[in-house]
Subunit: 317 residues, 2 copies
Amino acid sequence: MKGISTIAFSGGVGGAKLALGLARVLPPEELLIVANTADDFDHLGLHICPDLDTITYTLCGRANRSQGWGIEGETWNCLQALSELGGPDWFRLGDRDVATHLYRTQRLREGARLSEVTAEICLALGIGQRLIPVSDDPVRTIVHTAGGDLPFQDYFVRQRCEPRVTGFRFDGADRAAINPELHAALSSPDLSAVIFCPSNPFVSIAPMLAIPGMQEALLAARAPIVAVSPIVGGTAVKGPAAKMMSELGLPITPLAVAKRYSDLATAFIVDVVDGDQVARVRELGLACEAMPTLMNNDDDKLRLASSVIDYCHALSR
Amino acid sequence: MKGISTIAFSGGVGGAKLALGLARVLPPEELLIVANTADDFDHLGLHICPDLDTITYTLCGRANRSQGWGIEGETWNCLQALSELGGPDWFRLGDRDVATHLYRTQRLREGARLSEVTAEICLALGIGQRLIPVSDDPVRTIVHTAGGDLPFQDYFVRQRCEPRVTGFRFDGADRAAINPELHAALSSPDLSAVIFCPSNPFVSIAPMLAIPGMQEALLAARAPIVAVSPIVGGTAVKGPAAKMMSELGLPITPLAVAKRYSDLATAFIVDVVDGDQVARVRELGLACEAMPTLMNNDDDKLRLASSVIDYCHALSR
């Protein structure tokens, strides 16, 4: 059996869309999806992994497509009752979603690694692809804001990304170990593509790259590393990336994202509306192509996945 | 303001019915409902208090009347999702019920006492009566069975009371302290009635009586102690009491229950169908009356509550 040919690093919603496309294009045993865990947090004693869960629900076809997170047809009776009790209701826990958190938390308490629990959940939900946390060790994004440091979910959900961002840190990253399965795949001769999904560069991709040895392992991989721009037409397709760039004094352009990856990546993909950026990205020393990157439906996801893989293969020739 | 006039010791369903009747009859500030906690258990990291919750849901009018536990109109989406994940689904956690457990568990983790958390839940749900756990310290019923020792919920829910019972023990009871509010009420000059609700004598009332100093405090109280028989017409109105009595070699009669309370109680109430037991109970040295004790509707609960209180007042004259 062939080993992993494609590794996709992903945050939540946008990344999960491309991950789904890749899952439709590749044989299941060839795809390794690596999820950011720096959004994870403990809430009401539940260990919640928003990115892993978004990818999981997306891959098994249960994701709520209109809101971009959670489960289609979800109910909210637990949250409503919690609210009536005066409990914290700022993080919207759906009834079915709670089951995922209860299951995961209990298994972790029993001593299972997050990787093991994720594999169990994927198996139970009929997901044939390998989905793993980037590390089994806790890494937590802390958002530096004008009003002080905020744990990521406090910033993202409770404060709706309103505080002005001045920087980030990734608590625990310096003590985290790369998931051994990722390490093995990165050093495998079967590997032909490493993809950074169109995820937030600051809080989805950066915390994964902050794990000691990660950049070295990526540079040592014998496959092109291709990043897909999450910035399209001067804004983020989803989430706070554009607002963060603005607050950090960066232009809201694919080029500004590409600069962050220029020491690491082989190539950068911009959307067709940003064709003017291609030449400037190439000046960074990166290969660059423009292609349609918006994924409004499953056909879009499949098409982008195919295009990205074809591009990786072309780059490695 | 007058202090507590009436203390009701209660387990789950049957006890909660009389507690509701008492709540309808007495001014809220005069009633103290004391719940058994020896059924409590930790499940999926949630601290679950079945008797407290049954009484809570009953008092606030949310109890599911047909099944005798849980919440009316409850949904089961979390449990179904948990089952799909291969998580433990033998204990039926409703979506709204999960909120109670999440809230309680979080508050306990924050350092609150179970009494405090119970008061918070009662306040949030509009319950004006005082409902307290018999102790803030853990007491856990272990059921001795022909097949070995079983934690109570394993016996009661997972194994549906099927194992043959040979005895009980109450882990932690010897180190538990009587709830200070109960201790104060028992020694108050305002107290005029102590009621043992028609709850299981082995696993609802006995663990409360096993707490050091409880029997002494009851005997020192200046109010009659009146127990209502949970055995009516040769069977238990609800739950495994009759099966337990049979397996323990006891006759399934009110008299056999009365004998367990004969050193402690002032009086014993049997149902009208057990009028033949009155003389035999009186031979134990207990006062005894027969009255209608079945509580099929709210009128029944109110009527029994009134009758029991009137009887207590008659006894103390």
